[in-house]
Amino acid sequence: MGETEEFIIPVGPQHPALKEPTNFTITVDGEYVVDAKARPGYNHRGVEKAMESRTYIQNLYLLERVCGICSICHMTNFCLTVEEAMGLEVPARANYIRTIMHEIERLHSHSLWLGVAAHEIGFDTLFYYIWRDREVIMDLTESISGNRVNKAMPTIGGVRRNISPELLRDIRKGLDIFEERIKYYKSLILKETTVLNRAIRVGVLTPHDAVALCAVGPTLRASGIKSDVRADDPYLVFDEVPFNVMTHDGCDVASRVIVRCDEMFESINVIRYCLDHMPDGPIRVKVPVIMRVPETETVCLWEAPRGELIHYLKSTGGTTPYRYKIRAPTLGNIPSVQRMLIGNYIADIPIVIAAIDPCFSCTDRMTFVDVNTEKNWVWDSEQLRRYSRKWYQQNSH
């Protein structure tokens, strides 16, 4: 039996399939992928360290820039964390406006993803059409918040801008147009056999693997598991707004497409409910500009478009946070990607990586650099555990 040579293909850090730098070292045999190893860490910017020397209001805008696509998620989750630590009660209208911005961002993120997924399989026409229709959402965002990407709407204690009645009408009109187009794209994708050939039974993640490898978000819901932070642990107004958790049983890339399209329809319904039931009242409570947060530890969960987002704050009573930790959803999905890539073709690598909707800007939190030898590396959990055991043995007395 002849021996096949194993051939290593590096996907990243520069590769047209990736929108942000990361590295997947893929071992192939002909066209089959035999093994995949992920090495994130190229996008580490020291955000958490920078947060420790800025006041809470300044940190708001630093967190906005952790990721461009989920900027509202990080900002609002930060506000929720700090408000919980300070015991602030946010007015109802502010919560409704925050929910509207949250779901508008989900629409923008999922339609961006749909276009990018079409591009990864070579369907540029669909990519251009979807991004043209996404401009409706971008224009709405610009009218509401003053900027297309860095929306800067929430603040500690409420939101910064109100939504006028004309803007409410514009939002409704924009949503109607957008919903028509997304219905057309979903029906097109389900009819077009060439697209389905690239998506069905590609990147399969069984439900057992999904749970064992800590998958989150639509990746998890496309394997049939009903898990959504908005339903399990409601925040903002999700305990009042009726909405469904969309799942699909296919466990492959096509299911992830279907789950995200369904989530878009659900988001449109949530926004419409919020527009119909928006209470009047103030949009923020007054907080001091240089605020002191009492000595607590707080954790807040959030359902970002990519999955479950965790923020942790430890404060020692000062004007700057003592420690702030962000666990982005993509970090939870990377082990699943390594499992999903095996057994597929090289041609499937871009679409499988894109199917988890990677946002490596959010993800990269820690990498090791030895400044003396200029080596850098990333540890896996076993090495980290060994190091921590050794450290505690040496330093506990």
Binding site: G122, Y128, T194
Partner: protein, 335 residues
């Protein structure tokens, strides 16, 4: 002393219908392709260089010629330098055997259809060597995919091309191009109308198969597997830069001209038509229509995966091509 005949032949080869005309026409067809593709996608395409961007392919070519030409240290230098030249030379050679100026090609001889099919195969062989000699992982994968793709579409292409040859009873492309004008010029009887309609239908099937194989040959979506941009970053062309890349792009454009010229010569009657217009104009009109068809297919589908392409070609297209040859044989018997 250079005789005027020799001088005329040199001018014909270099200018018209030779190299200069082919290069200008290839860059024009690239502009048509890009504009139509863009309009289908609700955008402008090239817009500002020249009238509606018609000089954009020229600008791209000249820019590439001015860029730095880097050869990888581990590459096979002779093969690496030879591949762009071969990739440019082969479509030019093919074009000399296809009728442009009048119903006779510049170098037409019985059997040139087989030579043209062989030259297309040689082209893909040079693609494979281009990928192999770049000693780059992506290049090697791209070259291997090009070779695998060639194995899939060669048979249907040859079968589809042989159909009109059987009906025209000749293996010379010029004779095949002249055949519809001769056959459809007779008087109309119900029998001849029925046979004519059947011929048109069967030839349409052959045209469809040949177009698909030409799209695979040209490495355009849905068959741009050897240079899949999002998967293997330009595939076999990944290490070429500067002048070599300019030659490759020019060769790819002239390949488009050759493919559409072959499509018109075999199936659409070449540079001849019912109205008394110069044959060159017929040639330009018909090849532009072929390019528009190719652009439309380009905008319509995503990229196939290489195993799906092989399966689909062998399981679906080859049987259709065989049935098509059977139908052509029956038609040839009654004509």
């Amino acid at each position: 002393m250079v005789s005027t005949e020799l001088a005329l032949k040199v001018v014909e080869i270099l200018v018209f219908p030779g190299f200069f005309f082919l290069i200008v026409y290839a860059l024009f067809l690239e502009w048509v392709d890009r504009k139509f593709f863009a309009r289908l996608q609700n955008r402008y395409g090239p817009e500002h260089t020249g009238w509606k961007g018609i000089l954009q392919p020229w600008a791209d070519l000249i820019k590439l010629l001015a860029k730095e030409d880097i050869t990888p240290a581990a590459a096979d230098k002779i093969m690496f330098a030879a591949v762009p030249i071969v990739y440019l030379a082969i479509p030019l050679t093919i074009m000399f055997m296809v009728p442009i100026w009048n119903s006779n090609a510049y170098i037409g001889f019985p059997g040139d259809l087989i030579v043209v099919i062989f030259l297309f195969t040689l082209l893909i062989l040079s693609v494979f060597f281009g990928g192999w000699s770049s000693v780059n992982r992506f290049g090697i994968v791209g070259g291997l995919r090009a070779a695998l793709q060639m194995l899939s579409y060669e048979i249907p292409m040859a079968l589809a091309a042989v159909g009109p040859a059987i009906l025209a009873k000749s293996l010379s492309i010029s004779n095949i191009a002249a055949w519809p004008s001769k056959v459809f010029a007779g008087n109309l009887t119900p029998y001849s109308v029925a046979v004519g309609a059947a011929t048109v239908f069967v030839m349409a099937v052959g045209f469809g198969i040949f177009t698909l194989c030409m799209i695979a040959e040209l490495e355009k979506i849905p068959f741009d597997i050897p240079e899949a941009e999002t998967e293997i970053v330009s595939g076999w062309q990944v290490e070429f830069s500067g002048k070599k890349l300019a030659l490759l792009r020019l060769g790819s454009d002239i390949e488009l001209v050759a493919a559409s010229a072959l499509m018109t010569a075999l199936f659409l009657g070449g540079p001849l038509g019912p109205w008394p217009i110069p044959p060159v104009v017929w040639f330009i009109v018909k090849t532009t229509i072929c390019v528009l068809i190719i652009s439309n297919v380009r905008a319509l589908f995503p990229r196939f995966r290489i195993d799906q392409m092989s399966h689909w070609m062998w399981k679906n297209i080859v049987p259709i091509a065989v049935l098509y040859i059977v139908a052509v044989e029956m038609l040839a018997a009654v004509m």
